[in-house]
């Protein structure tokens, strides 16, 4: 038993480890993870050793999540298309989802709106909504899968992101397209380039044949049918093509960054 304990609890200052793990995460996440300690307690009871202290569970889990990013990037097949559905399959009403309520959702003025393009691109011009609407349009009916487990089928129309990347002369050897949104909290999310170049990844301006309503991300959403819902940013105001991993709203709080499906 003593030997087992010494295996589980290396000779490291427990308090230091906890501080280390907390540093990995932004403030709101830190609070949530610490709240999580309550139910780690159940495992403590089962195993008789304090999991959260003994091997800095969070640090290890974050490491494994990074490993899972790599595994998923390897599993991702750029030629595998998400299944498509018919009009009749569309989920009505399509659920609204966000960390804010529907009437707190960003309310952008289409007249003033510009889409800013930054980073490793030849043409850094900003785009007005009129200009964006003139881009070739395709429609896709695909399944939106939420990290929470529910799913819903919707119809999204817009222009393939990969065509837009070509149009602005983006360096497609860069690692990420990093999207910024108009949310109060500054929602953002990185999209790996392989997924950005996937034929179904779309700059979306319409839902179900109508101009994208406010609740679904007016004026622009990035629809990525090969990713979980939170990697499909709404109210998008800028894109940066970059080699740096700049984190994301949910990614920074512990959701797996690749989150491919």
């Amino acid at each position: 038993m003593r030997r087992l304990r010494s295996l589980l609890i290396p000779g490291v200052d427990k308090r230091l480890l906890v501080k280390d793990a907390a540093k990995l995460l932004p403030d709101p996440a830190r609070r949530r993870f610490i709240a999580g300690g309550a139910s780690l307690g159940a495992l403590t009871l089962l195993t008789g050793c304090d999991v959260s202290d003994s091997f800095s569970a969070e640090k290890l889990l974050v490491q494994i999540s990074k490993f899972n990013d790599k595994v998923q990037a390897a599993i991702f097949n750029p030629n595998t298309l998400a299944p498509t559905y018919t009009e009749a399959d569309i989920t009505r009403p399509f659920p609204f989802n966000g960390y804010y309520s529907e009437d707190e959702a960003p309310d952008l003025d289409g007249e003033d709106y510009t889409f800013e393009v930054r980073g490793l691109v030849d043409n850094k011009k900003s785009w007005t909504l009129d200009e964006l609407y003139k881009l070739p349009e395709v429609t896709q009916i695909t399944r939106h899968v939420c990290v929470e487990g529910w799913s819903a089928i919707g119809s999204w129309s817009g222009t393939p992101l990969r065509d837009f990347l070509k149009l602005v002369g983006a360096d497609t050897r860069a690692k990420y397209c990093w999207f910024q949104c108009a949310d109060v909290d500054g929602y953002n999310s990185p999209l790996d380039m392989a997924t950005a170049l996937h034929p179904q990844t779309q700059m979306t301006f319409k839902f179900d044949g109508e101009i994208l309503p406010r609740k679904y991300g007016y004026p622009m959403k990035i629809r990525v049918p090969t990713k979980l819902g939170f990697k499909n940013p709404k109210y998008v105001v800028s894109m940066e093509v970059t080699n740096d991993y700049k984190g994301g709203y949910w990614e920074d709080q512990g959701y797996n960054s690749f989150s491919g499906i």
Binding site: R32, N68, G149, W250
Partner: protein
């Protein structure tokens, strides 16, 4: 090459006195830990979007909130799968499955179940599983395989869409995955109760004899 014969027990049986060989014990306990982590984090994940009219009390879940639970779930899955593959490969290669879990006959199961309920089931030879044990162990191994495959199908419904289709599509596969969990928990309750009722079986699974 050494030949392994399923018929001659002595050539394949571990050293005299050993009821559970070391590899079975190691794999079994790693599996128990991995399963419990998967189940408890799975309950927390379930709570984010419940399939039924109930949620699991936070006091019995792992991870604290959805992201924490997902981190646990997608970490422990490696332990579960790698360990499970080792068990399947060794179980087949050493002939253990054939020797220990086979044959299972309906009449044998009925007879042993009756003997168990009337208190007449012998536990003298722990190196042989009775027919009810054989059935339960074979069944739970199958459920273990299905829980992993259905899990894969809801993790990667685009990349592994053929697998998701096998489980009746994304939404149905969630129910399959949940049902497997429920079966494993039910098995676990019975399994642990019986192990505690026959403590020398538990000693054999820990110490080997």
């Amino acid at each position: 090459m050494t030949s392994i014969s399923a018929n001659d027990d002595r050539t394949v049986s571990p050293p005299v006195g050993i009821i559970q060989p070391a590899w079975v014990r190691v794999v079994h306990w790693i599996n128990a830990v991995a399963m419990i982590v998967m189940i408890m984090s799975g309950w927390q994940i379930y709570n984010a979007s419940p399939l039924f009219d109930f949620t699991f009390s936070r006091s019995i879940t792992l991870g604290g909130w959805l992201a924490g639970a997902l981190l646990w779930h997608f970490a422990a899955m490696w332990l579960l799968v790698v360990n499970g593959l080792v068990y399947l490969v060794l179980g087949l290669a050493t002939g253990r499955f054939r020797r220990k879990l086979w044959p299972i006959t309906p009449s044998g199961v009925a007879a042993d179940a009756k003997a168990a309920l009337t208190g007449k089931l012998s536990h003298d030879d722990l190196s042989r599983y009775n027919q009810v044990q054989k059935l339960l162990y074979a069944a739970i191994i199958l459920v273990g395989i299905v829980v992993v495959l259905s899990g894969l199908s809801i993790w990667k419904p685009v990349q592994f869409q053929w697998l998701t289709a096998v489980f009746g599509g994304y939404d149905f596969a969630r129910y399959v995955h949940f049902t497997c969990m429920a079966l494993i928990v039910a098995f676990l309750v019975v399994h642990v109760a019986l192990a505690l009722l026959v403590p020398k079986s538990l000693r054999a699974m820990v110490a080997g004899r």
